[in-house]
Symmetry: D2
Subunit: 452 residues, 4 copies
């Protein structure tokens, strides 16, 4: 699953750290895989007289958008940041986050990971009472709801949570507080860390490592944690809901060196590979070939369980996508065909099993299988480390429309034939739950939507 | 008056023209002298099913920000644009215009030239009722007021005009209308033109020439003109006020090839120079030297009236300010000292009169006078084509603070001595009115503020 | 004559000045009008142990190519620089100067203004004996000739001058000397200045002003001046030739604030305008209109001699050409049509005389005359401050091919009719000589080539 | 071995292919790992009347330097290209290749991979006879030698090969020929491929895959292959030498999907890992951890031979080095510390063996070992897939100076202690030869220099 459009984000915040923006830079760098389209940082320098917010957003990677001269402008000991990957094309800069506003209680900035499901209704309602929107993001809707509440910021966030539905992990910065929020289902991960007394919030724990910080705990679903000077305050949302952490986070999105609910993602995926071996015991093969990078861990697990040779011989070109923000037509063409180069000589006459993390449209997989056949593989199987993708995700994962999902159009045998495979197997839903544990959202596999 | 910070803007709109954004590009190019910091275009492609707004804004000159590939994205037959010159430093992009919003009646975009005087009060009032602001501009305040009104867009604009005070010429684009608005005082110019049936609105008439369009008429103070398909509708603001066109527009800001209230600016300035001769009859000189570019026309007029030789021997370096957006320290130094090079050999032993459009801080003028003295001029006089600047402008011209205005600190004799001049004369207020006619704002000279 | 391709260069050198490259930056900035395509600086930091040359060249204006971080790299107290304007298209960077080489006596860098006429013969000869060329410039040929000589650098330069023909003003930097050279005809200007003991060489004297330096004297035709530490040594070329300073330098290329052979260019052009009045006594007009910027001074002179009103009402747009290095198609179109905007209302029913510095192809002039007629001028005359251009220049001025020169195709009456004029007059060759004095190259007017 | 400066290059050429430059772009993209500093393409459009060479070079990655608009300029059916990685700092653009010259027989361009050992002597000799050098590259020396020969291009190349010593694989383009040359020792690889009749030359075979081309054969040491229209001509250098292919090419530089002398590099490295297991039989460990990317294949081979679990838990951040050409200080710091993130939880209480391709200075390795100890590994061993690096490489691999090579300062036990390891082992020279076969240069290990 290398080429389909993703819609995922990374959020990060820190309070109580000199040059906070520099720490956010590092944090966003570690979270870059969660969003490559645009990024931004808002910092806050609180003082007795006057609180200033400093802001910089841009289209591109963190290292392209945030230069050292920009960091010098982003003063203060508190800051939040955001990485964004979106499919909406030209609107890059307009919808970049964090979103920073002025309202009756001063300044507030917000970084959002997730997707609301009742945005349109809320928006219409707000517009009817005179609201003005400068972006098309659901994040701006949340800010309006907060701004219209009349209590403290904590109450305002609780009021907002009463009204919105869907997925949201938030890092919010006011003039004196850093606040992290996770929706009642806990669709998206969010963790708290600590670095010499500075408080940190991050979408994934791998960002703590880059700072030399320590993981403290996950933010609970429905929890609001408020950091103000030395104090930490914890609140719970009024709405309750069953925990529904996105299962695709463990399967695909998270970095292998991050921890989800206490377990490292690398080991989770090894376990998926082992489970695949258990569920597809009939296969006889000479080698297991991971589809980089998504299939590497599962392939290792599968190889360990079966004893088939682990052969990572689809060699990745590390320079794909490293030019300017807009790849040229020629580059895109090279990317499509030559991101992975097969060492063809090694598969001639061999039985091979390819391990991947998903099949979405099937087009890329089909092309890859063809290369193995042309190279003379005598038998080509493919195992996928999750169930078939059949449903759209309303919570922010940008799968294609249902009609473009191959598993929605064809049955297992149909997909196998279309891809030109000798064998095709998926991890079962039960198998996935066994590996990940309960409390996950499986809607894209089974269509059971926990919210909205 | 070459180096002090300006805060002025240019606005432009067109309806009924294929590739409207390209015409706006040309219009903004012609209005570039009104604002060099940032610019932007919003276009609209109306259709039966769906109306789309396309937007691009950036920091820099029109030719730097709006590339041909950007123009291809800005589709549609209606578009508005904005040039901005501001002193607010790093906030360039955030406050760039046009400002485009979504509200209960759909999309609306606005380009604003001028400055409101009751922004803070309006803003506080709006915030108390839950409003959220993404920029610090008074233009966003106007959009909120429009969005909260419950009538048609025309009524909403009238409602907004009831509440705001200060200077505003506006070009507003809705999904099917192009609307131009001038505040009841008419502080800023705004003219309507026509090009093969397409309707055009522009801050200055020189933008009509660049398009091959024809001037139709000025928008009246307090007038709202609505262009919708073939129809033109005219409304008048409920508030009435004495006409108060900014006198500095004629003295300094407008391009000489623009027309203000039916007269070309070139001739207005020639007349100021003649009036200077009339008011300062005692001077005997060998030559008249214009301070480029502001003093050229007045110097010509003065030369014609006195018979003193017109000698444009302060030679301008046309490359100053032509590098990247941020000039280097070295460049700024070169700009300060060598923008104008005096042909020193021509003034030795001569009596010279320098003509300029204003003295603000006096620092630059002092340095220039010194160069004439070093070059051996036997007598150096200076005449200014307007009265002394003593008061700040709340309507959008960014003069320095009062304490930095030399005419606020010193009397005529004091300024003359400080600048090292043998003679210093200003155009009188009466003289200026004789040239410009009645109905002008002279607040920066006499402190009589027509509004707010 | 605003739009035709120019091939002219500016050269500059300084020795004995800390941060020499910064001074060269300023000098090149002042000489920018002599070449906008590319530029470069080579500096030298001599020391007891090791001499280092530092170099930076690029395509674009000085302020675009040479940043402050580049200046920090260009260390040393001696440096030379070059501005280039060429028509050769994509080869910008390859042919940028100064050209810096390694040869048997160490390092040498050279900046060249002019054009050799026997390059091909010399090149073939050098190639036959094994020479390798990395550029197509005649400047590289000169370096080869110097490198093959066996004497001192002074003798090597004399040897080189024995062999080359055509136009060359040179600034040469060796590891311990700054050397300036002017060809025996003295086609291109070159002057020496002084700044607190530092030695300066520049194509035009206006660069001395920007540095606060003083003009010392012109380099003589055929002269070589060597600056080494405190000492100054002067040599004369073995070849002798009649002085032939390019007359077009005074007519068009030089900045008005530069001095040519002791006279400021501004006054030279005033004199040309006066001479025009003398030679065309029959004209009766209401106003004299300069074609900016080339015709301004001559128009002033003409106005003074005739008493006709000087009306600079072709208003220049100062933003033309200020975007990126490559103007877009749209920008080029705007440049062609709207670089100058006529204040049309002022010429209605008037008899106008336009003053320009030349007519090359006639296309631009024709378009401009048409605008005057459309604006209702009752009579339009045009006077040119030099004789008709009929011949190509082999010495480095990039006039179009002969067949494209309108004066080569048509007689005076023919040109007049083609341009749609009521009167057309040129300055006579005799008149030009009266103004400029003897010792000028007039080959582009009369076809008499002083060399080659 | 991730962070030390490399000096290696990739060269590529094609003849008989429309839009040849586009194919070179792809080829250079596939060879990008051989040099990231600068790159360039020279193309040739031969025609009856006139042969034109088109050239573009720049500092940065292929995808940054060569845009699609550049490719449109690089016309013709023959082209060569070059990737360069150098340590020489600011001289990037000046020394970029291919180098293109004019000489007595017309145009010639050359791309060079390798390093001559007698450059200085040849250069001095050439300079004494009047030669002029514009770069400091040994490649320019080769061009001078070719240009001074009097025979055909083939004879000229043979004459040049008589004089130069050291390492050189060359792709040369004349106006009608594509020529590939490998030095008599064959230090650097060079292979010939074919694509629908077009002839291709490449440093590595992985570039054939990206084009869909087929490998034909390696260029032999000392061989010259000339492609001219349909004909292929083969010559042998007059000097003979024992074959000495750089062993480090197989150990480290080549991409795993390239073939060296008929064997894929992936399998070569697997074999090195197996040989390590054979040579270090005493180790008992829980897991084998590859140092990405260099140690991956050897770790796999070692894991297979020992049965220790292959655990790739040093997770690479794929965004390191993906910003602009010049990384900021902050980015360099992040790169140094966080390019690889250890999943610390997995090594607690475990015995681990790290596999890497080399230890140069030892600094990076030391830091990495420390991380394992901090994470609680009970025993940390390290195996290196080649012998200790003790000697500098005069043929173009940019190892640090001898005094900076840790294996030159300390014995095995000393290195082990310095790195904080419980075990340290290298592959023996004999073991390496067993894997690679005879005919390899091992000078960096044993100091026996095959040439110069």
């Amino acid at each position: 699953m290398n080429n389909y459009p993703k819609h995922y984000c990374g959020i990060f915040g820190i309070k109580g750290q000199p040059k906070a923006a520099e720490s956010v830079y590092r944090g966003l760098f570690a979270l870059q895989h969660r969003g490559e389209e645009s990024c931004g940082i808002v910092s806050c320098e609180p003082s007795a007289e006057k609180v200033s917010f400093y802001e910089h957003k841009g289209v591109g990677l963190v290292s392209q958008v945030i230069s050292e001269s920009v960091l010098r402008i982003l003063k203060g000991s508190m800051a939040i940041g955001h990485n964004r990957y979106s499919t909406t094309g030209g609107t890059g800069l307009q919808n970049a986050q964090p979103l920073s506003i002025l309202y009756k209680n001063g300044r507030i900035a917000l970084a959002h990971n997730g997707n609301l499901t009742n945005t349109n209704a809320l928006r219409t309602q707000l517009e009817q009472s005179g609201a003005v929107f400068l972006t098309t993001t659901d994040s701006e809707v949340m800010l309006h709801l907060i701004a219209r509440s009349n209590g403290s910021i904590e109450e305002a966030i609780l009021d907002m949570m009463d009204q919105v539905e869907g997925a949201y992990s938030l890092v919010i910065m006011t003039e004196d507080k850093l606040i992290c929020v996770r929706d009642p289902h806990g669709f998206r991960p969010l963790s708290v860390g600590i670095l010499n007394g500075a408080q940190i919030v991050s979408s994934e724990t791998c960002a703590f490592d880059i700072l030399g910080a320590h993981f403290v705990r996950d933010v609970e679903p429905g929890e609001i944690i408020v950091f103000k000077d030395g104090e930490i305050q914890t609140l719970k949302s009024r709405k309750k809901a069953p925990k529904s952490l996105c299962s695709f986070c463990g399967i695909y999105f998270a970095k292998p060196d991050s921890y989800l609910e206490g377990r490292d993602v690398y080991s989770l995926r090894i376990a998926m590979g082992k489970k695949l071996a258990e569920e597809h015991p009939s296969i006889q093969a000479d080698m297991v070939i991971p589809m980089p990078d998504g299939g590497i861990c599962a392939a290792l697990g599968y190889s360990r369980a079966t004893g088939f040779l682990y052969e990572p011989i689809l060699i990745r070109n590390h320079y794909i996508g490293r030019s300017f923000i807009k790849p040229s037509q020629l580059e895109r063409q090279i990317a499509a065909n030559f991101k992975l180069n097969l060492i063809a000589g090694l598969v001639k006459g061999k039985r091979v099993v390819i391990i991947d993390d998903s099949i979405v449209r099937g087009v890329t997989s089909q092309a890859r299988v063809k290369k193995f056949k042309e190279a003379g593989a005598s038998w080509v199987g493919m195992l996928i480390s999750c169930p078939p993708h059949k449903h759209r995700c309303p919570y922010g994962i940008d799968f294609p429309d249902r009609e473009d999902l191959i598993a929605n159009q064809l049955d297992l045998e149909g997909i196998r034939k279309t891809l030109g495979l000798d064998y095709l197997g998926y991890l079962s839903e039960a198998g996935l739950i066994e590996v990940l544990g309960d409390g996950h959202c499986l809607a894209c596999f089974n269509g059971k939507y926990p919210a909205g």
